[in-house]
Amino acid sequence: MNTVTLNINGCEVVAEKDLTILEVARRSDVTIPTLCHVEGKPSDTPCQMCVVEVEGRDELMRSCVTLAKEGMVVNTVSDRITAHRQERLGILAETHFGDCKAPCNLTCPGQINVQGYIAHVAKGQYEEALRLVMERNPMPFSVGRVCPRFCETRCRRLLVDEPVSINHLKRFVADWCMTHEIELKIPKDKPTGKRVAVIGGGPAGLTAAYFLTRRGHDVTIYEAAPKLGGALRYGFLEYRIPRDVLDYEINAILRLGISVKLSQKWGVDFTIQSLKDQGYDAIFIASGAGVDIPLNIKGCVNPHVYSGMNYLKKVAEGKKLDMGKRSAVLGGNNIAMEIARTLLRQGVEEVTVVYPQARVEMPAHQRNIREAGKEGTQFLLMASPVEICDAENEPTRLKLEVVRMKLGKPDDKGKRSPEPIPGSTTILQVDSIVSSLGQLAVSEHFEGGELEESIALSPRNMIVANPRSSQTNIDGVFAGGDAATGPKSVIQAVVSARRAVTNMHAYIMGVEKEPADNRFNFTRGKGFDDVSLKNFDDVKVTLREKMPTRPPEICRQDFDEVKLGFTEKMAIREAERCLSCGCTAFERCDLKKLSIDNKVNINKTGMGTTPIYGKDYSHPAFIVDRDKCVFCKRCERACEYDALTITADSLDEKGRPLGLGINFKENCVSCGACVDNCSTGALNKKAQIIPIQGEEIKDVRTTCPYCGAGCQMLLRVKGDTIIEVTSEKHLAPNYGALCVKGRLGHEFIQHKDRLRKPLIRKNGMLVETTWDEALEYTAKKFFDIKAMHGPDSIAGFSCARATNEENYLMQKFMRTSIGTNNIDHCARL
């Protein structure tokens, strides 16, 4: 008998003799985890992950060295095994030092793979960068212009010089793809046959429509205004988001195949009930927070007193408004800053923002406040409006009475609220006043039908949507964006809508919703103070690229865009400033995967806090990061050339290496097998700088295009870009082996020098032409030569690098269309 029969996890398994339990399990599709296993080369410092219980044995057995025997009863899953793995993993985690995800990724409300798209920019892969952004954010043009940039506040580059200008890079890739007329080819799932109505065509509504459509649902947007865009169109004016850019962005989303109904007022032209009657499977309310909180002081009802959103909307619609020469803006939020800047552009000579607290207390982002200030907006701080009256016989139309404020006594929590200073009123002479005191989803309650009226609202008049399900109190009706969250940034509306789509999809399809990204994360330090400056020893100071900007004294005169965007060179330089904090082995890391599978809490076990070794860039193709090494030694044993050594001066009390060395020997052929076998991010390919974080990867098996060995390899494709090349162990003819060219030599595929269009020689120069002209001209010339000199006056060279099919067709073409045997290739060259 050459087989043995054993029992694994209650199932009978027949296996070849003399195989280890690990190998038998692999062949029977039972996963036994391991960190250190290399087939046929057992480790001398075993990771002990692969332990199993064998009936009749008290101790846990390492499946990688225990042979499967007749009648054995093996158990691979038990609390005892998990506890053992947890202990082992905890020990490794204690000294593993690095970031799984970069702080920018973690800080972005949209959880966008920021490091990934920056890396794409650095590699000149702008289209892929944009596609990566659009995995999670369909509005890169707008967000790239108005985002508060949470990510940049956490950029570790701050500890060296200045943060990376992340948002400008996002805008750059979006704009680049627009100018180069790139068709992004966003993939869509198969149609589900389900229909969803989206109320509101602002950022949240458009985002929801985009993600719902990508999931195969049929979406209709109902928009009250005559154009889509919502707050992007009516809250930000041209100088922030040019209309042609906005239209392009919206059209790119609509091209996925989304129906739109414009000038449809909710409660007037349709109701929730009428939508339900039309058979929509779900309804998403994204009507925004467009209702201004009214100004409530004496004299506030006046034709020269406007409310914020209302005012901006009128300007956006092109209405002529007479705002006079001096204006006051009441309020300190972002909208107030937009209003102030818009007033200046309308010809108002003096704009004053009135706010009852200090500048730092203003809810607007400081960058917005700064920019308004640069253009000439003045600030009257620690002042609160009291009364408005018409001015008589004065150069201005209105008198605004304000009272000065001071900070009161601390309350229980130590917070000092402003209070009026008695008798400190002053008069501000203005021609018009615009108030921006915040926005609501609806002033009292929604109208139009019973369902509308029954929508539960929060005390601040926002729609109450369950944070876990995004559902309102009405079954099948969901809400998101500002209508549910109150006025927030565009990216936050995007995130809110994207989450709602996950929930809606689960609801419509009757499935469990996909789990959110696991929060397991090694970090070099959560706050800046926790990060060792030793991390940056080798980083040279390079200041960030300055965004080309029109001077404020000029740009306040018109509505043209203020910021002009990075050039390609600036974008690449800026992208190259990225410190690549996040691990480029994110997707393949076994330590992370096993820690998650075995529920290891690294916040409890602890993790490395400071780099002991630093990164080693001395190999021409690979980067060694010993601080991430768990001493599994797979690299050494996976090397077919015996060209790598991994050593330790000694081991600590828990068996971890001290004085760790990973060295390439002189006979290293740079084939990269060590990197592909690394169980963490300790070994990396220099060219593979894009962390893959849950994005879809297509593994395409193909044949190497270099020498005659015909090695089989896997092209790992994200979107339309080859991220890296790896191989499969069990396939002829190479059984996983690749050479340096096979694993690394594929940057040419998407190189900028590739020929993209047919060329024709005109006036001695090669110039671009159409396929039709090129082929037409070629055919004509071949005909002429044939007619004049006979078919044997034409010769063809075929290509030993091209496919069989193509070589067959080339010789067929020469023998049939031309009519000659003058066909050959470089077999003899």
Binding site: Y641, D753, S798, A827
Partner: protein
């Protein structure tokens, strides 16, 4: 290859001649190193001290270009000492007597004088190879890139048949083919003297069949080989050129001659993925998809037909080559009408007996080695196990002919080239990966220390090498990897185009040029 790459696991002895798979075919080189580690014997015949030479049981540092004499010398000893495989020769071969006749004069002393090897080396190697066991010969371009290339290949076959080492696992004659699909390009009949499937142009029956399938009258006179095209352009016999995926402006021997012809030709169409030097001379350039952007098959050196699969879209308006041929053919009034690469393959397998049993479906997991005569056939890992393609194996003994250029006073050094591990051809593809450039930043002229001392050349000196056809400047490096009297360099650097030096004399049968050897003079710059 008569055998398979992984067959190296079964080999007891490797005779490597004119091949350095460590750089030319790295994953195959690795298998040989592993076999040696496990205990297989290794004999390396190479003027250069390669890594395999260093690991060999016997390294024979032969004078370049003398391989036929060497092989004949081995056969002389094997015949003389009666070590040959009588059963195999009797049952499987013909013209043995002729072999005996020609081998007579290749005595150890005579061969030793020609090859620079000692008679002991010849005796040892002859006895080792002829002994019992699974013995494989591997060879590469160091055998074929000579005007006597076919003589060498035949001599290798003679030796293997004489000792009965063909048709067995672990043995065989194993040419390592240079390009990924050079095997396939030959199989597909991209040859001036063969229709697909190696059908000679005098095979009238098959011609009829092709004319029936292709619905056209076919030309039956042989065409011109690629290497003769340039002369024909310069004489005005060839007026139009259609170059698909090759860059002869840098890759052919004696490129000054090629470049002259490219300037002269009336109409030049180039179909490629980059604007190569050849494309720059074209009247029309057609942008093609690369291997990762299209479907199809390659056939590797062990005759394994394997899938190529589309992973990404081609850039801009570039199209897969098969589609370009269909489009152009249509314009020429001949409708090919294929809708996919698989369509084309179906036609191929209907015409080529070797490919008959192969379908795309069967290639999903792993490729098949031709011949695959029917759809249930598992492929053929070892050729000639029962009989040879022509029936009996024919001994064709050849006499030794010296290389075309011999050193003389004016050109006192030999010059030879090989492939760099981290580069491929002229780097139009590999040169786009920064890491590969970092691994192999430049080509260096490798000079033996004795020569260097004689010529007062030091490490890092710039030298000019000049042949009868042109000259090239390069940095010198002093190493005993090069044989005394011979300068070696890699040919993959576009900055140092060695093909200004190389020789375009052609083999009388295959029309292969004598790339591997020419004579040069050397001066310091």
């Amino acid at each position: 290859m008569t055998n398979s790459i992984m067959d190296s696991r079964n080999t007891d002895l490797f005779l490597m001649i004119g091949s350095n798979p460590d750089t030319g075919h790295p994953t195959i080189g690795m298998r040989i190193h592993q076999a040696v580690k496990r205990g297989a014997k290794l004999i390396v015949v190479d003027p250069r001290k390669t890594r395999l030479a260093e690991n060999a049981d016997h390294w024979l540092r032969i004078i370049p270009g003398t391989d036929v004499a060497f092989l004949n010398g081995l056969m002389h000893i094997i015949l003389e000492e009666d070590l040959w495989d009588k059963k195999f020769v009797e049952e499987r071969t013909e013209d043995f007597d002729e072999l005996v006749q020609v081998m007579k004069k290749y005595t150890p002393d005579y061969v030793s004088e020609i090859t620079g090897l000692s008679t002991e080396q010849l005796f040892t190697v002859a006895r080792m190879y002829a002994a019992q066991g699974r013995h494989a010969i591997y060879h590469g371009m160091g055998i074929t890139h000579y005007v006597t290339g076919t003589d060498r290949v035949k001599s290798i076959a003679n030796l293997a048949m004489l000792c009965g080492k063909v048709g067995v696992e672990g043995g065989g004659c194993n040419p390592l083919r240079g390009q990924n699909n050079v095997q396939g390009a030959c199989d597909m009949g991209a040859l001036f003297n063969n229709l697909p499937g190696y059908t000679a142009l005098d095979n009238v029956d098959l011609f009829d069949r092709y004319e029936e399938v292709w619905q056209v009258k076919l030309p039956r006179t042989p065409g011109k080989p690629a290497t003769e095209v340039w002369d024909n352009v310069l004489t005005g016999d060839i007026r139009g050129l259609y170059i698909f995926g090759e860059d002869p402006a840098v890759a052919d021997p004696n490129i000054a001659h090629v470049q002259k012809a490219l300037e002269k030709v009336d109409f030049l169409v180039v179909q490629d993925i980059f604007l190569t030097d050849t494309a720059k001379a074209a009247d029309i350039v057609l942008p093609a998809a690369c291997f990762a952007e299209k479907d199809g098959t390659f056939t590797n050196t062990e005759r394994r037909v394997q899938r190529v699969r589309k992973a990404v879209n081609p850039p801009g308006q570039a199209r897969p080559d098969w589609q370009i041929f269909c489009d152009l053919s249509h314009k020429m009034g001949y409708n090919m009408g294929y809708k996919s690469a698989e369509d084309v393959f179906e036609e191929i397998r209907s015409l080529l007996p070797q490919y008959k049993g192969i379908r795309y479906e069967r290639l999903e997991e792993v490729g098949l080695q031709w011949p695959v005569p029917d759809e249930d056939h598992p492929g053929t890992p070892v050729l000639h196990t029962e009989s040879f393609t022509r029936g009996k194996g024919l001994f064709i003994p050849e006499d030794y002919i010296p290389p075309v250029e011999q050193i003389d006073e004016e050109y006192p050094m030999y010059f030879t080239t090989g492939r760099d591990l981290a580069r491929y051809n002229f780097s139009s593809m590999t040169g786009k990966t920064a890491e590969l450039n970092a691994i192999s930043p430049e080509a260096k002229a490798q000079i033996n220390p004795a020569d260097a001392e004689r010529m007062h050349i030091y490490e890092g000196d710039w030298i000019r090498m000049t042949s009868r056809r042109g000259s090239v400047e390069m940095v010198a490096t002093i190493t005993d990897r090069s044989q005394e009297g011979t300068i070696f360099t890699t040919y993959n650097h576009i900055e140092a185009l060695v093909n200004f030096l190389t020789l375009d004399a052609l083999d009388r049968l295959s029309r292969t040029p004598e790339y591997k050897l020419c004579t040069i003079k050397v001066e310091k710059v």
